[in-house]
């Protein structure tokens, strides 16, 4: 019987290929949904087996490489993220996918992500990483060449950096699988502690760490390498972006964890640590901090709804990176918790964006507005998502952000703590920008007949919103799973409460008291006089009603003052830097080709003569 790991990994790809071959409207969607549901079912079924045995393993030999796959707690958590958000995204795609081309590559990227999470050796990790990158690239290629080219080049640059690092490790360790690599690095760490000469010199370690950091930094969209994310996330089928940003960015985060698993001890001893946090982790934390701020501020200044959420998902990943960077057991668990919550609310947001674009066909803020009445269901989902992302207590966003805050500040890292606070406020800010521009304010006349979300999208959004609320009120469920990863009770407390000793958070009490507060306020409200419903256009305008042509709205350029205060910083943009490098290389190629292959036989003969002279002089 094929091992269930293989089914989990290759079921989506198989479904994708079948959907691509049988290009019939009805069958295609059914096959795809089954393709996404099967791995999810197997993962849930694997939960029991994981309770009994530590992990499920499987290995095959392919062209001289031994591929190994493993499912243990950490990879189970990440695989579940991929499963749930992937399934929701596939459900969303049922209504927004145009042709079978998108089905094939969306499901192929899902296979790639599963493969990355379940891989147990460097080569299969690299191969599935490439498949994931290629599939998601093809999704973007269909819509826009420039964005897809930028995305492909940066992520392939990352992939090749990883390949060189794997090569260097393979040259020294002689094997690929995680266990032996980890063992060799651990022995190396012990040797460096005893002061004897080590397998890896210091700058080799720096090189490997730098290469891995670029590879995973590109995928997670950390600060200097984030330029591809806004274009790539916005230039593709929006419900696919739910999976693209919700799940695929987690591969980058998982990669960072792999660095910790493999090289953690060695780097710790090599570079020492500040307080309990390893010094090398500090780099990741700082990059994460800068990513939060840059991502958030740019998100607030965007005019396109997809770009806003692309930048916002970059800044949210910054949080996870800060959590991982701090490096203590609590902070890594907080990071994974935030990875889960980010996948949930970001997946939900992009499904909402998909519904809006699907129904209104508009993507710019300036021609949207006043959709709250027309799309109540989607607005309710958006309200839940906004509360969760902004980190308002009863929802999951707050629980994970709170854990990261506690973990970071407890490690005496003032600057990072300040960055985190600033990040949470920015999150607040661009959400209101989105809410005001899309849901409230004057509605342009042509949007008057917009219908609400189609059924499959509504179901998908429902699943994610429900999970957001459930994990918010009962954070203990997730904390329990996370503790299994580290084997010991890092986050104590019951199913409703997270207790860290120096800080306690109880989801249940907060929800009860919030409801009590709202009841009191409602009582006061209904004691007052009866209310007369007034249309949105009839506002306090000293008499003259606000008509369409006189539509006073600040949907466009909502944060002009912020843009002015940040004017100095906005001039520097890494996007333009990479653009210039690209065009410089192309011009170099142009001149090079023009001069070397100039078509004159004599010149070619001179090249031959030159080689002869070199051979003679050099004496080989």
């Amino acid at each position: 019987m094929i091992n269930e790991l293989m089914i989990i990994i290759f079921a989506p790809l198989l479904a994708g290929v079948l959907a691509w071959i049988f290009d019939v409207k009805g069958i295609r969607e059914g096959v795809a949904i089954i393709g996404a549901a099967v791995p999810l079912a197997y993962l849930i079924q694997a939960y029991q087996t994981l309770a009994s045995q530590p992990s499920i393993q499987y290995s095959i030999v392919l062209s001289g490489f031994k591929f190994e796959f493993i499912l243990y707690h950490l990879s189970w958590v990440f695989a579940m993220i991929a499963g749930v958000v992937g399934f929701a995204a596939v459900l969303g795609m049922v209504s927004t996918a145009k042709d079978s081309y998108e089905w094939l590559f969306a499901l192929m990227s899902l296979t790639g992500v599963y493969g990355v999470f379940l891989a147990d050796d460097l080569i299969s990790f690299f191969i599935f990483w490439e498949i994931m990158t290629f599939a998601s690239f093809m999704m973007v290629l269909k819509y826009n060449r420039k964005a897809s080219l930028k995305y492909f080049l940066l992520s392939v640059l990352g992939a090749y950096a990883m390949l060189i690092a794997i090569g260097i490790i393979y040259a020294k360790v002689g094997a690929f699988d995680f266990t032996s690599v980890q063992r060799v690095f651990y022995q190396d760490a012990m040797r460096s502690v005893m002061g004897s000469d080590t397998l890896f010199s210091r700058n080799e370690l720096l090189l490997i760490f730098g290469l891995f950091l670029t590879a995973f930094g590109v995928k997670a969209g950390t600060f200097p390498l984030h330029v591809w994310a806004p274009d790539a996330y916005s230039e593709t089928n929006q419900s696919y972006t739910a999976m693209f940003s919700g799940v695929l960015s987690k591969a980058g985060v998982y990669g960072m964890l792999v660095i910790y698993i493999l090289l953690g001890t060695r780097l710790m001893y090599e570079f020492g640590n500040i307080g309990a946090a390893p010094k090398f982790g500090y780099v990741i934390a700082f990059l994460g901090g800068i990513t939060i701020i840059v991502g958030g501020l740019l998100a607030a200044l965007q005019e396109d709804i997809r770009k806003l959420f692309a930048y916002s998902s970059i800044s949210q990943i910054g949080y996870i990176l800060v959590g991982i960077g701090v490096g203590t057991a609590l902070s890594i668990e907080a990071a994974i918790y935030h990875a889960i919550s980010h996948a949930l609310f970001k997946g939900l947001f992009f499904l909402i964006v998909a519904t809006i674009i699907h129904r209104t066909g508009k993507t710019q803020f300036k021609d949207m507005g006043g959709l709250a009445e027309k799309m109540p269901v989607t607005f309710a989902m958006a309200f839940v998502a906004i509360l969760s992302l902004a980190g308002i207590p009863p929802l999951v966003g707050f629980a994970s952000k709170w854990l990261i805050f506690e973990a970071v500040i407890h490690q005496n890292m003032p600057i990072l703590g300040g960055m985190l606070f600033f990040g949470s406020a920015i999150g607040f800010v661009y959400l209101i920008r989105f809410t005001y521009a899309v849901w409230f304010g004057q509605r342009p006349t042509e949007l008057d007949d917009t219908k609400d979300a189609p059924l499959p999208l509504a179901i998908a959004m429902g699943i994610l919103a429900l999970l957001n609320v459930v994990f918010g009120i009962a954070p203990g469920i997730v904390a329990g799973e996370l503790n299994k990863i580290f084997g010991k009770e890092i986050i104590q407390g019951t199913i409703w409460e997270l207790n860290l000793g120096f800080g306690r958070y109880n989801g249940l009490f907060i929800t009860i008291w919030l409801v009590v507060g709202i009841l009191i306020a409602a009582v006061i409200y209904f004691l007052g006089a009866k209310v007369r419903r007034v249309p949105v256009t009839d506002t306090y305008q000293a008499g003259n009603p606000v008509t369409m042509d006189y539509n006073l709205t600040i949907r466009r350029n909502f944060f002009l003052p912020l843009k002015e205060t940040l004017a100095f910083w906005l001039r520097m943009s890494f996007d333009r830097l990479y653009q210039d490098i690209g065009s410089w290389v192309e011009d170099l190629a142009e001149t090079l080709r023009h001069y070397i292959y100039n078509g004159n036989v004599q010149a070619y003969a001179w090249y031959l003569a030159a080689i002869l002279i070199i051979l003679a002089l050099w004496g080989v």
Partner: protein, 115 residues
């Protein structure tokens, strides 16, 4: 009259041929340079097989196996000459065709395919 003279002659022939190919602008002169180079190479081959004081390796009653020059390079040169002829003949047909189409044999102008 040591063997060096032949080697020197052969190598200088090759260099002259190379010079012609590298400097001359007219295509035909380049082809002539090429064939000079080939003759130089053939001369080098022959001179390698030469043993002083022996006659050509044609077995006749006066000439035995041990008073003839080493025959193998001679055989090699035969094929090399044939190949040289074939290449030059083909090159000339191509040159004629070039002249018919472009009305020039100057290397500088024959540069349509480039970049």
């Amino acid at each position: 009259m040591s063997i060096g003279v032949y080697y020197f002659g052969a190598v200088s022939l090759i260099l002259i041929g190379l010079y012609a190919v590298l400097v001359k602008k007219n295509l035909l002169k380049i082809l002539v340079g090429l064939s000079i180079m080939e003759t130089g190479v053939n001369l080098l081959l022959i001179s390698i097989g030469y043993i002083a004081g022996r006659s050509a390796p044609i077995l006749s009653e006066g000439v035995g196996p041990n008073n003839a020059v080493d025959p193998i390079p001679q055989a090699l040169v035969l094929t090399a000459i044939v190949i040289g002829v074939a290449t030059t003949a083909l090159a000339l047909t191509v040159a004629i065709n070039l002249y018919e189409t472009y009305k020039t044999l100057n290397i500088e102008e024959l540069r349509r395919l480039r970049g």
